[in-house]
Amino acid sequence: MTIKLGVPSKGRLMEKTFDWFGARGVGLARTGSEREYSGEVTGVEGVELVLLSAGEIPRELAAGRIHLGVTGTDLVQEKLVQWDQKVAPLAELGFGHADLIIAVPACWIDVDTLDDLDAAAAAFRAEHGFRMRIATKYHRLVRAYLHDGGVADYQLVDSQGATEGTVRNLTAEAVADITSTGETLRANHLKVLGEEPVLRSQATLFKSRVAKKTDAERKALNALCDVLKVG
């Protein structure tokens, strides 16, 4: 029986994850053809590599179908209710940095804080007859953040991509999205609020708190954590 380690199946996130494990003496590699999602682990015993979409890794960890997984803090906290009871972070991997932020049109020279956003939302609703729209795919995190910030009279509208374009297209007044450099925001004439971001996210190695383990699997997990110097 083996410990299952879930890793993003493509792109920079996968490569950087492979590098991070490699630097600690654990070799991760894809096997077979370029299109085949299978992999191998060298340097430790009893660990199986599972290649998955980064967005599905939180769910698999919470279901206990994988024991370890690499994904963004943003995805874990958005997708898992009471995430800290289902998974435990073992190590921040130092890449995949991104902040979940609220951005408004740069021409809103009167809005910089959540206090401003709330006041603007109240006036907007009075003027236009509907609640100010904020486009996002991070509904739970953004709602909790705005609740804590005391913002009312807004609504979240779902946007699964090209979120920065929604303001220009008049389908939202503001956006809440992940950004690393802010370039896309600036190009779309948006500015980030001068508040703490909703969340600072980076690629993180998580352990499932619910996955069942045999004695042999527990040993394999401990051995892997020792090699990685985590947990």
Partner: protein, 360 residues
């Protein structure tokens, strides 16, 4: 406990309210989401199940009966009216997964404009009587006293409106009060905006639906706010003192009468409180021992704007209130399309009562 026990309990409770002259009403489980979202804002999505109907758009599994009952009454209700209902309500439990997400509520609602304080006392006494065997702790409050205090502040109408808008968000309310009284400084970005000779210089292109006129209006409002005198420390202290009142109704009334000497704006609201206490006494409720907390119901009971009450199981501090209710005149105004009627009511949870009986 079994579902049939709970249903039997609910039926007998409802029969009791019917026996007192209430008319039985029912409402659809699937409610249009728009009405509730517009009333409560986006936060209700964390507490209610919202789903998609291919034709009607977003619909919500009823999180309570009050809103549909008010809508029904405002559409074609006779006056005065007393209603009772029983049925399941549905609540998402993100914060408390151990709590039920589907449970029965039995309610009693009074729409009557003749004597609001007597109606408050009637509703409270009905619930108090039904719940007497369970040894619950009753708590009462009155949101109307706080709103009266806010409307009496010696400050701008814009500030009062902002405070009123956040009456049900205690932390935000406090932050606003701190800002308006000068306790927290103006944020640097706002200071810069206010001091700028031409804030529009080097402005980004206008995008989105919020127009430059709206932005200009807000900047003007900020200038007016900056020019206004801070709310005095004395007035803030009075509000603080008011919010701290937490004792028996009789002592609370004395304290509130004291506060009203310096804050005459609350006098009428305190008189209403006194009339309610008298009406409760007349119904055999001991106001010498009934708890009153001035801040009760501020964070959880968003449509109540006057009298509020709850019955709590002291043996189960982890439970939500077994019964709760209050006055919601403003809700009838919002849903009444130009009409309004004073209304007060409450709900109780037969499932929790069955649990309490089983535990005894």
């Amino acid at each position: 406990m079994t579902l049939s026990q709970i249903k039997a309990k609910a039926a007998s409770l409802m029969a009791g309210f019917e026996g007192e002259g209430a008319q039985t009403v029912d409402c659809a489980i699937l409610q249009p989401a728009e009405v509730l979202l517009d009333l409560y804002g986006e936060d209700i999505r964390t507490r209610a199940y919202v789903t998609q109907d291919p034709v009607r758009g977003e619909v919500m599994l009823r999180p309570d009966f009050t809103v549909p009952v008010v809508e029904m009454h405002m559409a074609d209700g006779a006056e005065p009216a007393r209603y009772t209902y029983s049925g399941e309500v549905f609540r998402r439990q993100e914060e408390h997964p151990e709590r039920a997400s589907e449970y029965f509520q039995v309610g009693y609602e009074v729409f009557d404009r003749t004597d609001p304080e007597a109606a408050d006392a009637e509703v409270f006494a009905r619930f108090s009587e039904v719940l007497a065997p369970y040894g619950l702790r009753a708590v009462t409050g009155d949101i109307g006293i706080l709103t009266a205090a806010v409307s009496g502040l010696k400050t701008t109408e814009a500030r009062k409106a902002a405070l009123m808008r956040h009456i049900w968000r205690p932390r935000r309310f406090r932050a606003l009060l701190d800002r308006y009284s000068g306790k927290t400084p103006i944020p640097a970005s706002r200071k810069a905006l206010l001091e700028s000779a031409d804030p529009w210089v080097s402005c980004a292109p206008m995008i989105g639906m919020r127009s430059s006129r709206e932005i200009g209006a807000r900047i003007e409002a900020l200038h007016k706010d900056a020019a206004a005198d801070p709310i005095s420390h004395d007035e803030v202290a009075l509000i603080d003192g008011l919010l701290k009142v937490s004792e028996s109704c009789d002592f609370a009334l004395e304290r509130l009468l004291d506060i009203a000497v310096d804050l005459p704006a609350i006098s009428e609201a305190v008189e209403r409180f006194a009339r309610r206490c008298a009406a409760l006494d007349a119904r055999g409720i001991d106001t010498g021992s009934l708890a009153f907390e001035a801040s009760y119901g501020r964070s959880s009971m968003e449509y109540y704007d006057g009298f509020v009450f709850g019955f709590l199981a002291t043996s189960r501090p982890d439970w939500p209130a077994v019964s709760s209710g209050g006055r919601y005149d403003a809700l009838t105004r919002q849903l009444g399309q130009g009409r309004e009627i004073p209304a007060v009511g409450g709900v109780l949870r037969p499932g929790l009562l069955v649990d309490l009986e089983a535990g005894q």
